[in-house]
């Protein structure tokens, strides 16, 4: 169905080819998962399939890509719409009309499909994707999962035989990701579509894949194989695979269910050791607190009656579905929104009534999209500006950046950094004023496992040096790894607040894979288990 | 006119501009216009120097670019420092005469006691800074002007004859007006000019000429403030261009109808009434039951639609 023959892609301003000598075949009806670190060329590979590379992006393509018998050399993306449907990283950016129905019909209008057929296909697609209730709604008002499904629907109506998706669940909360993945499975099973998708969050998708394509990105050749084969070698692996590796299972488990079947031996091995508690030392000084906090937007409270404290040395994870008030709570801490009831104090200040320069010396927030606070032309300028904003000695931010992320080039444009590097840069910009309390909103969006691991080390280091850290996140694995306390919010209220293990182990939504496998024992991370196994072996 | 101007102007900008000091509306005055009759009635067709000292500073647009500039500039919104000048097309005067093109409009003159003659007023009748003084005489002449013809009021501005019997109270002033509605040759189709009359206005100290006139006669102006009609004459139109006309015969001096004058009984009863009663009285007198009926009906319709709309919006909520 998809044939890459000796494909190399070189962009104009890069010295080495982004993809080199890729030859592979993806058969019809398979769900193929493309994995690789950020910047390894996953997106480029996906864009080759429908001809966006090189027709749209520029660059030179050597070799040949043939999809459904058509070469992308002679066919433009618009001539391949009946073969390949392509959904980009940000589905909302690709919308061209205002209502769901029109958006779905758009591709067919360009193909001059008869109105009666169009009508029928739109109805079928709405049903297939579970969007019938939302058919008249403006696309801008949809949730992230719905938007992703509309984007899929809008390419499905031209009846392509291949569907290409670039990180469809990266920006979604777990529930929305479930919706999208369930849809995708249905497409593969019921319609026999060939699906190619790239994804960082392997723990979500690996069990659905028939084929897996590893794009290492360091110049070594790509590997195509069954997920179990590829996972044996892959530097990127979900916790369930890492657990399998630690326990020496073969073949490797890909899903929690696989692993649970084989967990008996591991359970026995771990019987002698107690799971580490992951809880911080509560005796530290309180850095910020709220009392009966209420924040409303236009009369509708987004945060209701929240009383919360964050102390030095602890890492608090705030969890909950989209719209549960996590971001609003964080904004109240830094004074971006003013409380309509109750109070917020941070470092003795009332953030809503203090100047930003005062607030930053007490509490700093790294927003969901780190690019929002970056604007200078180079990393060095950005750091210098941060020093002057925070009124600290020149070089403070740059030194911090060197400590936290040694490899970041200072003369580089912030826009050219990887997601992970940009996040750390934003973190350093905020940390220049040395706020004792640091808040991060969705820090792991778009980060690969490597970048996440580095972030975890940075956060742990901050906590050790007496900072308080709070994260708003959907990423249960990150929470299991780093948090000392978990606060669960729903509908603007705090519904649970306690040590990480107490909260997540019993929760179906927030339990990490390791906890799901070893439940009811309170193990959270592979690191804990390897440490326990190692200490047992030593004794 | 209204919509097209709206179409080109940004909303508030336009609101400001047209409310402003006659900046747009006095644009008819341009250095290309031959301005005549600056001080003396006899100086026919002498083109004004390009930077005439009395030229307005507000001539912002060349007259040639603007259709409306073909209309007479006389009595243009008198507000600005605009000189009230004679109408002048963009084309040479002689060609206008040959083509039979002209204008009919109300000209505004001031009586000069020293030369005992009428002088075309260089100041607008509504100029807020050039207020008339007690004892001034002003003349209005409705006339057909072809080329650069001068058509003065046909009677002298004799203050004593017009205002002699009036007394000004505290904070008041007496202004004499000579209102010359012109001859039948000047009249628009289907209208007959009333007899020329003299009338004395006893007005508040800070009234302009136009305001003083309004106390003794109805004054119809257009949106820009141009005086279009006095005592409802002419009934419609404002400085209309006319074609196919020839210059009317030279004017003869006439006698004015004066208040208390016996002759007014015969010819000028209508204007007498107007002079005696205030303008709004005269208009409310003329209101018919039909007008009241349609007005009430319109009020009912507006009310019904508004209440109906309100009820509908409530029900749909």
């Amino acid at each position: 169905m998809i044939v890459f023959d000796q494909v190399s892609v070189t962009y104009a301003d890069t010295p080495s080819p982004t993809l080199k000598d890729v030859s592979l075949q993806i058969p019809e009806g398979e769900l193929c998962l493309v994995v690789g670190p950020t910047g390894s060329g996953k997106s480029t590979l996906l864009k080759c399939i429908n001809g966006l590379v090189p027709h749209f992006t520029g660059g030179t393509l050597a070799g040949q890509v043939v999809v459904g018998g058509r070469s992308t050399r002679s066919h433009h993306p618009r001539d391949l719409v009946d073969v390949v449907g392509y959904v980009g990283q940000d589905p909302a950016a690709g919308f061209v009309s205002d209502s769901v129905e029109d958006e779905i019909a758009y591709g067919m209008e360009s193909l001059s499909i008869a109105p009666a057929t169009m009508r029928k296909r739109v109805e079928e697609t709405l049903d297939l994707l579970g969007l019938a209730d939302a058919r008249h709604r403006p696309v801008a008002t949809l949730s992230g999962g719905q938007q992703q499904r509309v984007a899929i629907g809008s390419v499905l109506t031209t009846h392509p035989r291949i569907l290409v998706l670039d990180e469809p669940t990266s920006a979604l909360d777990p529930q929305a990701a479930e919706e999208v993945l369930a849809t995708m499975q249905r497409l593969v099973h019921d319609l026999g579509l060939t699906v190619v998708l790239a994804e960082h969050r392997l723990e979500r998708v690996v069990q659905y894949a028939d084929q897996m394509l590893l794009v290492p990105g360091d110049g070594s050749p790509v590997t195509l194989g069954t997920p179990a084969e590829v996972m044996r070698e892959s530097p990127l692996a979900p916790p369930v695979v890492e657990l399998g590796r630690a326990a020496g299972w073969s073949p490797l488990p890909l899903s929690v269910r696989d692993a649970r079947r084989r967990v008996a031996g591991l359970r026995e091995a771990l019987a002698g050791s107690a799971a580490p508690t992951h809880s911080g030392d509560p005796a530290h000084q309180v850095l910020a607190s709220t009392a009966g906090l209420v924040v409303s937007y236009g009369g509708a409270p987004a945060v209701r009656d929240v009383t919360l404290q964050v102390a030095a040395g602890e890492i608090v994870a705030v969890m909950g579905r989209n719209g549960s008030g996590k971001s609003t709570l964080f904004k109240a801490f830094v004074g971006l929104v003013k409380p309509s009831g109750g109070s917020v104090t941070a470092g003795g200040l009332t953030p809503g009534r203090s100047r930003p320069s005062q607030v930053i010396s007490a509490v700093g927030l790294v927003p969901q999209n780190p690019s929002d606070i970056l604007y200078a032309d180079s990393v060095a300028d950005e750091c210098a500006q941060a020093d002057s904003d925070a009124d600290v000695a020149p070089g403070t931010a740059a030194t911090l950046l060197k400590t936290l992320a040694p490899g970041v080039p200072l003369n580089c444009h912030p826009g050219d950094l990887s997601e992970g590097q940009r996040l750390i840069l934003a973190l350093c910009v905020v940390m220049a004023a040395a706020p004792p309390l640091l808040l991060l909103d969705e820090p792991t969006r778009g980060l690969d496992y490597g970048a996440k691991r580095r972030l975890v080390r940075v956060l742990e280091r901050l906590a050790r040096t007496g900072h308080g850290v709070a994260l708003a996140t959907h990423d249960v694995e990150l929470v299991a790894e780093v948090a000392t306390r978990v606060v669960v919010m729903a509908d603007g209220e705090v519904v649970a607040n306690g040590p990480t293990a107490d909260i997540v182990v019993s929760s179906p939504a927030f339990a990490p894979q390791v906890a799901k496998i070893l439940a009811p024992d309170p193990w959270l991370t592979v690191t804990d288990i390897t440490a326990a196994l190692a200490s047992q072996a030593a004794s | 006119m209204a919509l097209s101007r709206r179409a080109v102007g940004i909303l508030l900008l336009m609101t400001f501009a047209s409310a402003g000091p006659g900046v747009t509306t006095s644009a008819g005055v341009s250095t290309t216009n031959p301005v005549t009759g600056t001080t003396s009635a006899s100086s026919h067709a002498s083109p004004a120097p390009p930077n005439h000292p009395t030229q307005p500073t507000a001539a912002v647009r060349p007259a040639a670019l603007r259709p409306a500039a073909l209309r007479p500039a006389a009595l243009r919104p008198a507000a600005g420092p605009t000189a009230t000048v004679r109408p002048a097309g963009v084309e040479p005067v002689d060609r206008d005469i040959a083509a039979g093109k002209g204008f009919i409009y109300w000209g505004f003159y001031k009586w000069d006691d020293e030369t005992a003659s009428w002088a075309f007023s260089l100041v607008g009748a509504n100029h807020p800074k050039k207020l008339p003084k007690d004892g001034d005489v002003y003349g209005f002449r409705f006339a057909l002007i072809v080329g650069s013809d001068e058509r003065l009021p046909r009677a002298d501005g004799d203050f004593d004859a017009i205002c002699g019997s009036e007394e000004a109270g505290e904070g008041e002033k007496r202004i004499a007006f000579v209102l010359d509605y012109g001859t039948q040759a000047d009249a628009p189709d289907g209208e007959t000019p009333p007899d020329p009359r003299g009338v004395c206005a006893t007005a508040e100290e800070d009234f302009t000429v136009q305001q003083a006139l309004q106390t003794v006669a109805t004054v119809r102006t257009d949106e820009s403030g141009l005086i279009c009609g006095i005592d409802d004459y002419p009934a419609q139109g404002c400085g209309e261009p006319v074609t196919g006309v020839s210059a009317p015969p030279a004017d003869q001096q006439v006698a004015l109808d004066l208040p208390g004058d016996d002759s007014s009984e015969e010819g000028g009863s209508a204007s007498d009434e107007d002079a005696a009663s205030s303008p709004d009285d005269s208009s409310s007198d003329g209101i018919s039951t039909g007008t009241v009926l349609t007005l009430v009906l319109a009020g009912l319709v507006i009310l019904t639609l508004a209440v109906g709309g309100f009820v509908l919006s409530r029900r749909r909520r």
Partner: protein
């Protein structure tokens, strides 16, 4: 008769019909400064809005336009009656102490006499402008601009898509700017000024650029621009035809509406322009083989609504020609006359309240829309 011809069959009316109706009412209002006639038109427009608006977010636009109208009237009265020395009458409301102004401000004054004549004249003129604007506002409340763009002729398809994208892009930029501005506070940055502008502009523009590239890629991969091959010459001919036509229509409209322009600029120019534009659209439409998904039908109710708008305009034009004293009252203090024809015209203008089909009631979904919109606005403000 097709089902779409029945006025009782609930469906959204074609946006184009609403626009023509609204422009008709606006044209009618442009012919009169009589406050009663203006109020009649305003009431007609408002009644139709209340009777036939949908539950979409834009349906509440009329209220905003009414407020804008009040503002216009207020500004006009202040500027014209209080600040301008022009057209003061003799019925004094109040005699304020006058503040002398320098010579260059000769047309302006501060204080001095304020008369009923000036205030009422300013009120009528402001009301006329407000009425015209509210007519446009009524259309905004009744019809979606995006749906109108969807029904542009095939030759203008690309332009239509570009306009739709621009319409969705603009609000996005605003929300981006709000988000970035608040994010800059997170750096501890207090000030505004030029530096602050740059801090906001750079991330916003970079984000917009990135999104445009994504959008272009998405549109390309969805078949945008698949047109049949036509010679460059033919394409240019079509474009020239359409744009000359549009220019002709514009000049013709100007000629028609500006009473002081000579006759040949009006109707004949409009006719020629329409012909040229229509020709261009037909010729151009042939080259794009594209089908429409659920195109809005143009049926009897559309014709009726357009007729109502045009009829209202025609009647007011006749009123303005036959009784100028009623259309543009010369004396602001007079009781305004109301010609029966104008009354009928306004009622005709209100007829779409029953002639247009009722809007389909999508309350359960619109509830969801409302919630989602609330959520979106929360996201935006948060």
């Amino acid at each position: 008769m097709r089902s779409v011809d029945y006025p009782g069959y609930a469906r959204p009316l074609h946006s184009g019909a609403w626009w023509l109706w609204g422009l008709g009412l606006a044209a009618a209002a442009s012919r009169t400064t009589n406050p009663v006639l203006c109020l009649l038109i305003l009431a007609a427009a408002g009644f139709v809005v209340m009777a036939r608006r949908s539950r979409a977010p834009w349906a509440y636009a009329f209220g905003a336009f009414l407020k804008l109208g009040l503002l216009i009237i207020a500004v006009r009265i202040v500027l014209q009656a209080v600040l301008s020395s022009q057209s003061q009458g003799i019925h004094v409301i109040v005699d304020l102490p006058e503040i002398p102004l320098p010579a260059w401000a000769a047309g302006l004054k501060l204080g001095g006499l304020i008369t009923w004549e000036a205030v009422l004249t300013a009120f009528s003129q402001g009301l006329q402008l407000a009425t015209i604007i509210c007519c446009v506002g009524a259309v905004n409340a009744l019809a979606s601009a995006q749906r109108l763009l969807r029904s542009v002729p095939g030759a203008l398809y690309e332009v239509g898509v570009a306009a739709v994208v621009a319409l969705t892009f603009a609000p996005q930029l605003v929300s981006d700017a709000v988000r970035v501005r608040s994010a800059q506070r997170l750096r501890g940055y207090d000030g505004g000024g030029l530096a602050g502008l740059r801090r906001t502009a750079m991330p916003v523009l970079e984000g917009a650029l990135g999104r445009s590239v994504e959008l272009a890629a998405a549109m390309d991969s969805r078949g945008y621009g698949r047109t049949t091959d036509v010679a460059v010459g033919a394409r240019r001919f079509t474009a020239a035809l359409v744009f000359t036509g549009v220019l002709g229509v514009a000049v013709g409209m100007y000629g028609l509406l500006d009473a002081s322009v000579t006759g040949w600029l009006g109707l004949p120019m409009l006719g020629v322009g329409c012909l040229l534009a229509a020709g261009g659209l037909v010729v151009g439409g042939r080259r794009t083989r594209r089908t429409r998904y659920r195109p809005d039908p143009w049926a009897l109710p559309e014709w009726l609504v357009v007729t109502a708008g045009v009829g209202c305009a025609v009647m007011f034009f006749v009123v303005a020609a036959r009784s100028p004293g009623a259309a543009v009252p010369a004396y602001p203090l007079d009781i305004p006359q109301v010609p029966v024809l104008a009354l009928v015209g306004a009622l005709v203008g209100a007829l779409p309240a029953v002639l247009a089909p009722p809007t389909p009631d999508r309350s359960p979904e619109s509830g969801a829309v409302g919630q989602a919109a609330a959520g979106a606005s929360e996201e935006l403000s948060s």
